[in-house]
Amino acid sequence: MEQKTVSFGFSKIKKNKSLGISKISEGEVEKNEEAEFVTEVDENFAKSTKPKAKEFVIPLIKENKWRVNASGNQIEDSAVQELVEDARKFQEAEQGKGQTDMGLNIPLLMQNKIPEGFETDDKLDVGLRPDEPEENDYEEIPIDQFGLAMLRGMGWQEGQGIGKNNKAVAPVNAVLRPKGLGLGADRSQAAQLNDSKKGSGKNDNEEALVLKKGAYCVLLKGANKDMYGIIEGLDEDNARVMVKLTLGGNMVTQSQYAIRLVDSHDYKKYSKYLNKVKADKYKEEEERKKEKDRKRERHHKSKRDKHRDEDSDHDSKHYEEDNRQPSSDSRKRKHDRLDDYADKHKSSQNGNSRSEPLWIKPQIRVRIISKDYKKGRYYNTKVNVIDVLSLDNCVCQTDDGKVLEEISQSELETVIPKQENAHVLIVSGKQKGQLARIMKKDKSRYIATLQLLRDRDEVINIDFDKICEYSGNIDEEYDY
């Protein structure tokens, strides 16, 4: 509790009335507020073993102390000083605190008026002023403590602002904007790119990826997206690079934020791909499928279903083969495309953190159920889905050919075909992504009986919500 009184002493020093004679008070004020002393006992112990750095306080000079030699007429000066003194005393008596409003009645520039005859327009006599500090003065108050000590003397506390309305202002810190980065651009993305440019040399086996002439890169944006190339030149001023494309050999210029550097290994492997992204995706799907099959295998084994077991075993072998030559057979296995679709959407669904599963797919017919979309103009209209970019951005086409963009899945509803024998796509559940023909509809129970097109022996009953009218050409998928 003793320290508590010490910290109070600090504010009293400020009110010191011994004018002019300003002694340096090294009020060893503990930095912590009183509240901290009570709560954080441990810290207090730590302090006792290791004394804290002194907090210097230089009391505010309320009135300059003139070093006037005993000469000349000082009657006028002393008269001014007396007036000032009186006014101040009066004010202090009245207000009791006399802190901020000290100079209310005295014009600011009169508070420390220079005595007549010194520092005039004609002659600058600095005799009134003290001498420069000596070396031991600097030892008394180190330079790096001086500024804060002065502010404390003026009544400033950590976290407070300057000025009458006491508004704290943070110092401006200049941040270098990445070159060529426009307004509204995503800064974090550019930073990421910069990071990847700098810090990829961690692994010794990997080549350091440096943005320089002759480096390999892949374009991320623009007409030549996903093309590989060699950097032929750098335009540092505009943050652009000139890239010679591997395929076709054209020179293109591109913003350096729209390329990704690759090492020579990757470059050799992929640079001849026409479309690497598709190939990658394909590979990923294969991987996924393999895993799924394995799971299924295990599942069936536990069910002791021997026939299926053999089948899937065979399947997985087949997939393994595929994996060895991922690019060559992308065309061969066209009949599997629907499955791919399903998986693809599953993967995009995984990437999406939102809970709503993605059921919407191209080439199905859906109904817009949102009254908000385009002010409800298309409310209750059936449209064909053309492309699905994300959960809340798909492109649809109305029957009269109008293309609608940026429709969210939540604004859409499945459509059950009116006529018998129509084709539907299963949009959720175990058979997701499969095409089927409707054999029977039970409108009272909302259940449809379907024949799967892939495996015509299989007939299932399914909820209306899980199927949707298929608008694509069935003959294209299954020639029969």
């Binding site: 102390k65 600011l108 008026k113 420069e132 500090p133 003065d137 502010l151 003397g153 200049a174 307004l183």
Partner: protein, 431 residues
């Protein structure tokens, strides 16, 4: 646009494009305007446009408020400007391209159609305007060095800086640094009183470090030279004219002015040569020097000379004694020291911040062990602009309170990068 560089590039592109189009379009007059452009070329933008022709003016934010051109109908606003800011922790100034404020954007838009209907094209989206632009530009007092301001307040007898009614209060860090610098320079004593030196320094309308340098020249008897250097430093960024089509000539001209010791000596050399030609405009033109800036330097110098008389310092001269000159500079700028580190980079002595010599400096290739810089500017990197080489022992001589001899260990015995760093003989040699 943000500066000379961008303006010159777009100027070239526009010229090229119009040349290709030939007679397909009507005459297009393309005129740049920026602060560093010679005044006769600046004046061209005010010439009336001939009938049938169009005038394109490529401008920095000089055209935002400082000047008004009649008959502008369209404004294209890229949304950026170069902004000066001051880091109160390191004392480093930065000149960085930043998005403009909404207030600036509106001011720019207002430049179109002053006398008739006009349009403004903003090269950013409404979203960026709403979300990325600040409402107002940060007031300069919050991003500048306050050394001079604090000294002035002190000399006016205003001691309570905390309760001074600033219109826009500065961050307290800036005040702390300003006070500490004034203390270190000896303008304030350990009680916070303004000293004799401080009062004399307050007479000069320059940065406290500069005024200390001027007052220190009394001791080294080189006030005449120091005055010229100060005047040149106060206009230093606009002395050389470097047109894009004559870069090589301009650079050679500049390099011909180089003098050993550092950039301050070079500036002094330019001023003295110009003085010898009786302040000739022709001489400036031949040497790719901006006459306008030199004239301003001369005005500043005249003013400083008057003030020197007021603080009762004799205008003495020591021609050729660069050591005295450099010691006087050191006395003012001992805060701004950098040393060559073992890695071959420069680091500031107090903050251990990596900095580089500006490529335009005469010491860019010399790499002396100890340097004093006039200012630290963050553009693409942290550059020291206007540097001189010094000897570490001078620091102990002029600022024993600021430097401990331990900090100034030369490392002469230690390994230095090959062919870098200079020996004591090199530095103290009188050129």
């Amino acid at each position: 646009m943000t500066g000379q560089e961008e303006i010159e590039t777009s100027n070239e592109m526009l010229q090229e494009r119009t040349r290709k189009l030939g007679s397909k379009i009507k005459e297009l007059i393309i005129l740049p305007i920026y602060a560093n452009l010679p005044s006769d070329m600046q004046a061209k933008i005010f010439e009336p446009t001939p009938p049938g022709a169009r005038k394109v003016i490529l401008a920095t934010n000089i055209a935002e408020t400082s000047l008004t051109i009649d008959g502008i109908s369209y404004v294209i606003d890229p949304g950026f400007c170069k902004q000066n800011s001051y880091n109160a922790r390191t004392g480093m100034e930065s000149l960085v391209v930043t998005p403009i404020s909404k207030a600036s954007a509106n001011q720019r838009a207002g430049r179109a159609g002053r006398v008739s209907a006009g349009k403004c094209f903003r090269l950013y989206t409404a979203w960026a305007y709403k979300n990325e632009l600040e409402d107002n530009t940060i007031p300069e007092i919050q991003r500048t060095n306050l050394g001079n301001v604090v000294l002035l307040l002190k000399s006016l007898g205003i001691n309570d800086l905390i309760h001074f009614d600033f219109m826009d209060p500065p961050p307290h860090e800036t005040l702390v640094l300003a006070l500490e610098q004034l203390y270190a320079l000896g303008a304030l004593n350990n009680r916070g009183e303004l000293t004799k030196l401080g009062r004399r320094m307050a007479e000069f309308p320059v940065d406290p470090m500069m005024s200390k340098m001027i007052l220190a020249s009394e001791q080294y008897q080189c006030a005449k030279e120091i005055l010229s250097i100060t005047a040149m430093l106060s206009v230093n960024n606009s002395i050389f004219y470097r047109p894009k089509d004559k870069v090589v000539h301009a650079d050679t001209a500049r390099q011909n002015f180089f003098r050993p010791g550092g950039d301050h000596m070079t500036l002094l050399n330019i001023y003295e040569q110009w003085e010898e030609t009786d302040y000739s405009t022709q001489w400036c033109f031949e040497n790719f020097i901006q006459h306008r800036s030199m004239k301003r330097a001369r005005d500043v110098r005249d003013q400083l000379e008057g003030l020197l008389e007021r603080v009762e310092i004799e205008v003495s001269s020591k021609p050729g004694d660069t050591i005295a000159l450099r010691k006087a500079i050191t006395a003012g700028f001992f805060y701004h020291t950098a040393r060559l580190s073992k890695g071959g980079n420069y680091r500031t002595v107090k903050h251990q911040q990596t900095v580089m010599v500006h490529p335009n400096s005469s010491l860019f290739e010399d790499r002396p062990r100890w340097l004093i810089y006039h200012e630290l500017v963050f553009t693409t990197k942290e550059f020291m602009r206007q540097v001189i080489e010094i000897e570490n022992s001078w620091l102990l001589e002029v600022a024993p309170h600021y430097y401990k001899s331990k900090e100034l260990e030369d490392g002469s015995g230690k390994k230095m990068p090959k062919n870098t760093g200079k020996t004591r003989e090199d530095v103290t040699r009188n050129y």
